[in-house]
Amino acid sequence: MSSKQTDVKDLIERKYEHGFITDIETDTVPPGLDEDVIRLISRKKGEPQFMLDWRLKSFKHWQTMSKPNWAKLNIAPINYQDISYFSAPKRPEDGPQSLDEVDPKLLETYEKLGIPLHERARLAGVAVDAVFDSVSVTTTFKGKLAEAGVIFCPFSEAVINHPELIERYLGTVVPYRDNFFAALNSAVFSDGSFVYIPKGVRCPMELSTYFRINAANTGQFERTLIIADEGSHVSYLEGCTAPMRDENQLHAAVVELVAEQDAEIKYSTVQNWYPGDEEGRGGIYNFVTKRGDCRGDRSKVSWTQVEAGSAITWKYPSCILRGNGSIGEFYSVAVTNNLQQADTGTKMVHIGKNTKSTIISKGISAGRAQNTYRGLVKIFPTADNARNYTQCDSLLMGNQCGAHTFPYMEIKNPNAVVEHEATTSKIADDQLFYCQQRGLSEEDAVNMIVNGFCKEVFRELPMEFAVEAQALMNVSLEGAVG
């Protein structure tokens, strides 16, 4: 509706009503967004001038944009002036002091997911003793990575220590003008991760292992940049199967991947933000822009995602297949229960010759949830012999949920080969009965059938996460049948 758009614009243009006071000493900025806030964020982080300029440009552009309306989502209006765009990391004494103070339901979920004890406390926001045994582990990892020449650090650190890399690559995959949420993120992003893999280096470990120990509370406007230089290889895992608590409702992250010649990036996500209660109250809005640029010949970007959380998910990890012979892959499981909504999919843009892409999407809906696959396969005239294979499967549980598939294709080269397969199925009573007749409880039977449905995607995940992802599926669909 156009009236809604003007509301947002009004709000954006309106000055913070109570007068904005810049107080460099405080750690949290009052809600509201204007140029002063952006200058303050940048100053607090000690950023170089180019970074501030870029943020300001992004902000100016964002003010001219309006929220996208094309997704099949029902989104309550967001008041961008109600959000506080900078807050220092929480002090330990603000959180619960021990697991005894944490919601028992949350602990029960951790238990079901098999989260190790020492991690449960951190996830629940309990102040964890600083000498807990991961410190030495972290140091070992750091040593190994440094030896290989890999840079892996918080984004804000990279801005200070490697400004030349940031300036060269930032916004080259997802320009700040790309979309409403990407522009907002570019203006106000808090932190995130930065990875650089030098030429010919195979990153000596899954970056997940390290990441899981360190990266709690990455914030609501996360920004990640991964650069794989020529002939290098890296596997990165974002997120965690455990439900993360976060008071910020809006999450608008940006992830940029650059794969140079013969480089390969494997990016796996397990997203389990709070989905809201059974009536959909209080869940996270997860509006993410993720894109991989296969810049060099024979480069490869592979996305694997398991989207289980959030009230609303709006997310299309994409691949720009620029290099000749480059490869893009997208493997996705999106599960929605209760009143969750997901509009997710991918874009595969074939520009180089002999480029190949594969899309495997599995959508599971239960309760009153809506699950949409939206994908674009675009083949440029230059992309001789491009190949795409797309498979979209939907699984419905119960009859109040919905599954929708929107596969778009733009094919401008006659010798492209594009295949598309789609299925929609229900967990049939007869399948359940068959499993139960063999002795499985109804719950175990549902879990088994769902996991079977997701198998092609789960097997793309790093081993330990595949197991966790299965457990996550089971917890997410609890009570969906029966």
Partner: protein, 251 residues
């Protein structure tokens, strides 16, 4: 006595299909049930296995000293009831052995036993597969996914062999089998029988009974057992069809 069915009445979608059925099966006995299409054979099988669509409106079923009708389908299975389906369903992406292992462990858990060791399980399963002359590639394929009609039936018997039930109901497991497969299936059933498993064989053909000698043969028509006898009754049916018996029952 393992199972005792007394005056069983079953309705599906408000239509009465089983109308006062009585049947008692002893331990290690094999009973064959024959009868015209639509007479209620599969309905009886599904009802005993606990399918929720079948409403028991009257009667009792006692199984190994328990009231069977009080148990949910999965509880019945864990108590030792196995149904070889007339139409086994496909479950894609779930491997045959994965499901079997889950099923076996569910039973062990119910019996207070620990989960089966992975190596031991594989050895056990391979042994049973060999017995059923089931190629090992079927173990890792999705449950019945893309199996031929005969392969599905053979897979049912293989599952039975792995799960070692107390009471197996085999609903037309012989239909669609070639001669060699029929022998293999019969062999599997006879093996179970030696292990004191009771069997309810639903079949249309005398042929199966050449390989599995039943202790009793019953004729089910219009929701009731109208005649019972020994294995010669099957031969009589093969020769004369149901008309005579049906007419005699009406009279």
């Amino acid at each position: 006595m393992l199972i005792k069915i007394n005056n069983l009445h079953v309705s599906v979608n408000e239509t009465e299909i089983i109308k006062g059925l009585n049947l008692t099966i002893g331990e290690g006995e094999v009973h064959a049930i024959m009868g015209p299409n639509g007479s209620g054979k599969s309905t009886l099988a599904q009802t005993l296995a606990g399918h929720p669509n079948y409403d028991v409106t009257a009667g009792t079923v006692e199984f190994a000293g328990q009231n069977l009708l009080d148990l949910a389908a999965d509880e019945r299975a864990r108590a030792g009831i196995f149904l070889g389906f007339q139409y086994p369903v496909e479950i894609s992406g779930v491997s045959n052995i994965y499901m079997l292992k889950a099923a076996l462990n569910a039973r062990r858990k119910a019996a207070g036993k620990p989960e089966i060791d992975a190596v031991e399980f594989m050895r056990f399963v391979k042994e049973k597969a060999a017995l059923m002359k089931l190629d090992q590639k079927f173990l890792t394929r999705g449950v019945n996914e893309g199996f031929s009609g005969g392969e599905k039936k053979r897979n049912e018997i293989f599952q039975m062999a792995v799960l070692e039930p107390k009471f197996a109901i085999l609903d037309e497991t012989d239909s669609g089998l070639d001669i060699d497969a029929l022998k293999v299936v019969a062999n599997g059933v006879n093996q179970q029988r030696d292990d004191k498993c009771s069997v309810l064989l639903i079949t249309h053909y005398q042929r199966l009974l050449d390989y599995i000698q039943p202790d009793f043969v019953h004729v089910l028509a219009n929701g009731q057992i109208i005649r019972s006898g020994d294995k010669d009754l099957a031969l009589e049916l093969e020769a004369n069809g149901y008309d005579e018996i049906l007419a005699a029952a009406k009279a």
